[in-house]
Symmetry: C2
DNA sequence: AGGCGAAACGGACTGTGGTCCGCTTTCATT
DNA sequence: AATGAAAGCGGACCACAGTCCGTTTCGCCT
């Protein structure tokens, strides 16, 4: 006669102190980054500020990069929400082509804003299958709505690739392009593909 | 009355011992990687095997990643040579479209072969402007020969982006695509753009 | 309430990337 | 060949990511 049937609750019984520490660590990390920048963030400092031991950082996030990725995940979820249920043309309601172009613009801006954090998250972020999967699935859906023929799974990832942080770094910070130029180029690319 | 006018010799007077140590370190690194893999390579071990102090590693290469990048550079130069003066269709002599498709296939294979080293080189590699510049310039030239209109500088980088190591990792190692499938998808992408 | 097993905690410890500075080597000049 | 100064060298040293294990906390069950 258990009060809560474990299988009915989605959460897999996370202990209360674990959840509390997790939040404390994320908050501490965000505050320290705001103050000192991403590069000077040490795991010792995060643990101290959160009032927990260093081991807890690694128990919860696996690595320094994992901590960065978790911070990113929060902002990424907000972004995904604006794609799923936000206002058109990024959200639903606009014609597919408009949505696709709005997607590119928004993704580019998002990546530029989070660039340093994404780079600090390193491969941990690249392996975040949930994020990559959502993005390419969304593009794939729009391509299908546009009636594009061919290997849509490939085309979706190929269209998303030029919006990645390293490419943008090269084009904008190294190659002297402006964000507008990059966006115009991407829009042109999309129109050729469709 | 100097024997050698410094301005006439291209080399900026690299001291003999410096050059010798540089080669010794590169050889030691390559041997240790072959034996133990990239991940288990420590700078201490490289220095010891090369018979030099650890400081020398960092004087010559700046960082562990810089050492990896230098190893890559060697193989990259060989690859570039095969593009500039190797046999067609990768090298000159074939029609532009054939060359472009051969470029994609060769670049994909090259990236797959060097993937672990490229990942170990991290941002140092991504900032290697010479490599990025050569690749996108080559594609840009082929696009021009094909009579493509538009922002060729952008299109070149956008076509190269889906051949990057992280994208290939996602598609092939995570997403279940085969190399053939990726290559076919890329060729399709190119044909749509042209 | 109280007891029990599992999960989480914390902080000392380790391994490695990267720095620093006094000493050595090179080489152009005489 | 001698010389002097600049370039290079080496290895002790430091900071920080990540591990390990004895101790503490949680929450379920009687």
């Amino acid at each position: 006669m258990s009060k809560n049937l474990p299988l009915l609750t989605a959460a897999p019984a996370v202990r209360a102190d674990a959840a509390r520490n997790r939040e404390a660590l994320l908050r501490a990390a965000a505050e320290l980054i705001e103050r000192c920048g991403v590069d000077d963030l040490t795991t010792d400092a995060v643990a101290a500020r959160a009032g927990v031991g260093k081991g807890t950082v690694f128990r919860r996030f696996g690595s320094r990069e994992g901590l960065m990725a978790s911070l990113l995940n929060h902002r990424e979820e907000e972004w995904q929400a604006s794609v799923i249920s936000g206002p058109a043309p990024l959200g639903p309601g606009a014609p597919p082509m408009e949505r696709l172009l709005a997607f590119g613009a928004s993704r580019l801006r998002h990546h530029r804003e989070q660039a340093t954090l994404i780079e600090a998250a390193g491969s941990t972020w690249g392996e975040n299958y949930a994020v990559l999967g959502f993005v390419s699935l969304h593009v794939r859906m729009l391509l299908a709505q546009l009636g594009v023929q061919g290997d849509l799974a490939y085309l979706a990832t190929a269209l998303v690739a030029p919006l990645g942080v390293p490419v943008l770094r090269q084009q904008i910070d190294h190659g002297g392009m402006s964000e507008e130029q990059v966006l115009a180029g991407w829009a042109d690319l999309v129109r050729r593909v469709v």
